[in-house]
């Protein structure tokens, strides 16, 4: 390629014009990129007003990021856009009215063809002289188009307005986030509970597996993510019910009876160790102590005393553990008859029985504890959704609550209670969460009033007056049955104060276990909530109602 001082000068001028063009294009396109970025942010902000996607701080951060990204990207594109030198030379020839001098100079430098050398040099000199006289500033000013500036102002104003104006989706988003956070916390709780069960020395591997399986399933489902509040509650309820099925109340009753029997056994020197262990709740230790009793080493008087004690203990345990009572009685009889071998064997059997009871009790206890924890988890998830909405100040209470029977009334939204509650309730109503129609005896404490201008307060009889709409009236569940007093929750030794017919036509005992009845109706209710069949304002009422009825 031929080179020359004139050609070099032309090249330098061309480079300078090209640099100025790149800067100018970068400036113009950066403004357009900013418009694009702010426009995208505006679109995101408008979408956030239709669907709960992002909270306001995140929207602001995204808006700034999009604007900066658009600006930077367009700036880079404007500057680094490929501009071949020959094409640029042709562009500048037109722009600066150089009559194709620059582009001809470049073409002759690359390939002179049949043009004589002297003419090539003269053309370069002519091109250089013409380029020298060019002032690129008027043709390549550093300013952006007014239209772009106005557009930027318009979209920025629209974005600011859409971010500043109250967004109805933020409440929903806050609720969702609160629920998700609660779910995350409960997942950790469930994980800790599983570890606790795994480390329980009183449980066999089979018992551990049986206890941890519902927890693992619940944990897995909760970890799938994107669960609604209703779905999470359903998962927790399912696991809770499975664990409650393992919390054999009979086993617990036996364990308690044994514990009480320990007091008597500890009076006898022979059975003192076993009795003390029983009194301390160490059933396994008691079983070992019982098994270690060597009847052959006892004197006659000791055998008689032991027999008496065993017989006493057998009588005490007759109702709760007939098999153990029989074994103890057999041991006592054998002692009285002087049959040491038989007495020893009976004692061994009794010791095994106590050991089995110990294991069963441990499992039942662990299951009960786990079920209780899952109940707390349900409460936490249910409360999380309510608190999320509360944070946005959406109380519209119209309570008429008069005490709520039992349970945790968590009124929110348009609560319309008509309770004559007599149970021990702990209402946490927010602006009218009166729900539930238990007719227990007790004092219900209505929840705190919300911030709604409508009459609030859902305590006993101090709520606002409104017409009760029995959409999910408990009176209609199970038919028009007689009123029943429900037993207190959590108290396994409480009396059953009443039994009633499941069907008005049939008299007699209840034939369907309460657990099954409750499960069927609670599942149906949660399903209806999940399908959106229940108005939003009633969902919390229904959840709290079924939570209060949970066995």
């Amino acid at each position: 390629m031929v080179t020359n001082v004139y050609l070099h000068e032309v090249d330098e001028h061309l480079s300078g014009w090209l640099f100025r063009l790149r800067l100018r294009e970068a400036l113009i396109w950066s403004v357009r990129g900013l418009v694009g970025g702010v426009g995208a942010a505006l679109g995101l902000s408008l979408m956030a007003r239709l669907r709960p996607v992002l909270p306001i701080p995140a929207l602001v951060a995204f808006s700034i990021s999009l604007a900066l990204l658009g600006f930077a990207l367009a700036l880079a594109l404007g500057y680094f856009w490929p501009r071949p030198r020959l094409a640029a030379a042709r562009h500048f020839d037109r722009l600066f009215s150089l009559a194709e001098r620059t582009s001809t100079a470049l073409e002759l430098a690359a390939s002179p063809g049949a043009t004589p050398d002297w003419l090539v040099v003269d053309q370069w000199a002519d091109a250089a002289a013409a380029a020298r006289g060019v002032d690129p500033r008027p043709s390549l000013p550093f300013k952006f188009e007014r239209r772009d500036g106005l557009l930027l102002l318009a979209v920025t104003a629209a974005l600011a307005l859409s971010l500043y104006l109250p967004n109805p989706q933020q409440a929903t988003l806050a609720q969702q986030q609160a629920v998700q956070q609660a779910i995350e916390e409960q997942i950790q709780q469930i994980e800790a509970l599983r570890e606790q069960i795994e480390n329980n020395p009183n449980l066999t591997e089979e018992q551990k597996d049986a206890l941890t399986q519902p927890l693992e399933e619940a944990e897995q489902q909760l970890q799938e993510g994107d669960l609604t509040q209703e779905q999470a509650l359903q998962v927790l309820t399912q696991a809770q019910q499975e664990l409650e099925a393992q919390a054999d109340s009979n086993t617990q009753t036996q364990a308690e009876a044994l514990q009480q029997a320990g007091e008597g056994l500890s009076q006898n020197p022979t059975t003192q160790e076993a009795g003390e262990a029983l009194s301390n709740g160490d059933l396994q230790g008691a079983a070992e102590a019982l098994g270690n009793i060597d009847v052959s080493q006892l004197s006659e008087a000791e055998r008689r005393a032991l027999a008496d004690q065993l017989e006493q203990t057998a009588q005490a345990l007759q109702n709760t553990n007939p098999e153990l009572a029989e074994q103890l009685q057999a041991a006592a009889d054998a002692l009285r008859q002087g049959d040491v071998q038989a007495a020893q064997a009976a004692l061994q059997q009794a010791a095994q029985n106590v050991a089995q009871t110990a294991q069963a009790a441990a499992q039942a206890q662990a299951a009960a504890q786990a079920a209780d924890q899952l109940t707390e988890a349900q409460r936490a998830v249910a409360e999380a959704g309510n608190q999320g909405q509360q944070g946005q100040g959406q109380g519209q209470g119209q309570g008429q609550g008069q005490g709520q029977g039992q349970g945790q009334g968590q009124g929110q939204g348009q609560g319309q209670g008509q309770g004559q509650g007599q149970g021990e309730g702990q209402g946490q109503g927010e602006g009218g969460g009166g729900s539930g129609r238990g007719e227990g005896n007790g004092e219900g404490q209505g929840g705190e009033a919300g911030t709604d201008p409508i009459e609030q307060g859902n305590g006993a009889g101090d709520g606002g007056e409104s017409t009760y709409e029995p959409i999910y009236s408990p009176f209609h569940i199970g038919g028009e049955g007689e009123s029943e007093n429900l037993p207190g929750s959590g108290d396994n030794t409480g009396e059953v104060v009443g039994e009633g017919p499941a069907n008005p036509q049939d008299a007699g005992d209840v034939t369907v276990p309460y657990n099954e009845v409750y499960t069927a109706y609670s599942d149906a209710a949660y399903e209806a909530i999940g399908n959106g069949d229940v108005p939003p304002s009633f969902r919390d009422i229904i959840r709290s109602y079924f939570s209060s009825l949970a066995p």
């Binding site: 042709r90 009559a99 001098r101 582009s103 073409e107 002759l108 043009t115 050398d117 002297w118 003269d122």
Partner: protein, 334 residues
């Protein structure tokens, strides 16, 4: 400018000076018509022939005669009439008796054996006579009785025709028109020019033009002009321009499709390039630009476009179509 140009050739500066001098001398006799003078001079430098069209009395013949005087070229005028024979143009063999009494044929050259031929009212001669001239224009030679006589270079034919008196005329066919590099329309002078014409031609003093160049210089100027480079995108533009004159081509604008029956031949593109090169030199530039092409396009392409019946009925001129083409055909293709 460098001094390394060939000694037998002219430099760019010399070109400009000579061209300016020619135009200046012609301007002493011909008032106004600067565009016509420029186009005719371009034709002469390019080695082509020009067809001047205009009503009588506009100085077409005077222009060519003045140009012949300025260029120190042998000038011949042929007045075309319907009874003009080919031999009247090219010459003929005549029988003559030698000093010793023998008779022999001697070729008597016709008026075509000159450097600058004025073919006045070329459309009044018969096609046979026209063809005799046109053959000489193409071949730069004449053939008589199986003998070929070369015409001396430079050889230019500057023909004229009257657009008004069409009765009894034989319009040149399109194929013959294509042999003229340029067709220049001579317009009626402006009132100020007319005043100047009156002052020069009706007074006691008659302006004359001096000789400022000769045939060798004209040839050298032509050789220099052919060396001027054409940038590739300008060449492509010229090609797109010529192709767009054909109504069947996809790039033809609507006006071409509506009024043109047939477009320009490749000779039209050659005329554009040569004319643009010389125009660039006139501007003192050593490369062809788009403006140079635009300056010569009407003269180079106007006579090569064939109007259809609708164009003739609408009174559309080919120059108008060429102007429209210059606006519609893009200079750059992305």
């Amino acid at each position: 400018m460098s001094q390394s140009a060939e000694m037998t050739d002219v430099t760019v500066q010399q070109f400009r000076e000579t061209a300016a001098a020619i135009e200046g001398e012609v301007g002493k006799v011909i008032v106004g018509q600067s565009k016509v003078v420029r186009h005719v001079l371009i034709c002469v430098i390019a080695g082509g022939h020009a067809l001047l069209e205009g009503v009588p009395g506009l100085g077409k013949t005077m222009l060519i005669k003045t140009l012949a005087d300025v260029l120190h070229l042998q000038f011949a005028r042929i007045q075309f009439t319907p009874d003009l024979m080919p031999a009247d143009i090219v010459g003929t063999d005549i029988l003559e008796e030698t000093a010793d009494g023998h008779r022999q044929f001697r070729f008597q050259p016709g008026p075509i054996f000159a450097n600058l031929i004025l073919a006045d009212e070329i459309n009044r001669a018969t096609p046979k006579t026209q063809s005799a001239l046109l053959e000489a224009m193409q071949e730069h030679s004449v053939t008589i009785a199986k003998r070929t006589y070369r015409l001396e270079e430079p050889f230019f034919v500057l023909a004229t025709q009257n657009p008004i008196e069409m009765e009894g005329t034989y319009p040149l066919p399109e194929a013959q028109l294509d042999r003229f590099l340029f067709k220049v329309n001579v317009d009626f002078p402006s009132s100020s020019d007319l005043v100047e014409i009156l002052a020069r031609t009706t007074g006691g003093h008659t302006a004359t033009a001096g000789k400022v160049a000769d045939g060798a210089q004209i040839l050298a100027m032509g050789r220099l002009a052919r060396k001027i480079p054409v940038p590739s995108h300008v060449s492509e533009f010229i090609a797109r321009l010529v192709v767009s004159t054909h109504p069947t081509h996809e790039t033809a604008p609507p006006i071409v499709k509506q009024f043109i029956r047939y477009g320009a031949s490749p000779r039209g593109a050659q005329a554009l390039v040569l004319g643009a090169k010389i125009t660039a030199l006139f501007a003192g530039r050593l490369n062809v630009a788009f403006e140079d092409v635009a300056a010569v396009a009407p003269a180079a392409l106007g006579h090569r476009l064939l109007l259809n019946f609708e164009g003739q009925a609408e009174g559309v001129t080919t120059e108008d179509i060429v102007e429209e083409l210059l606006k519609s055909v893009p200079e750059a293709v992305k």
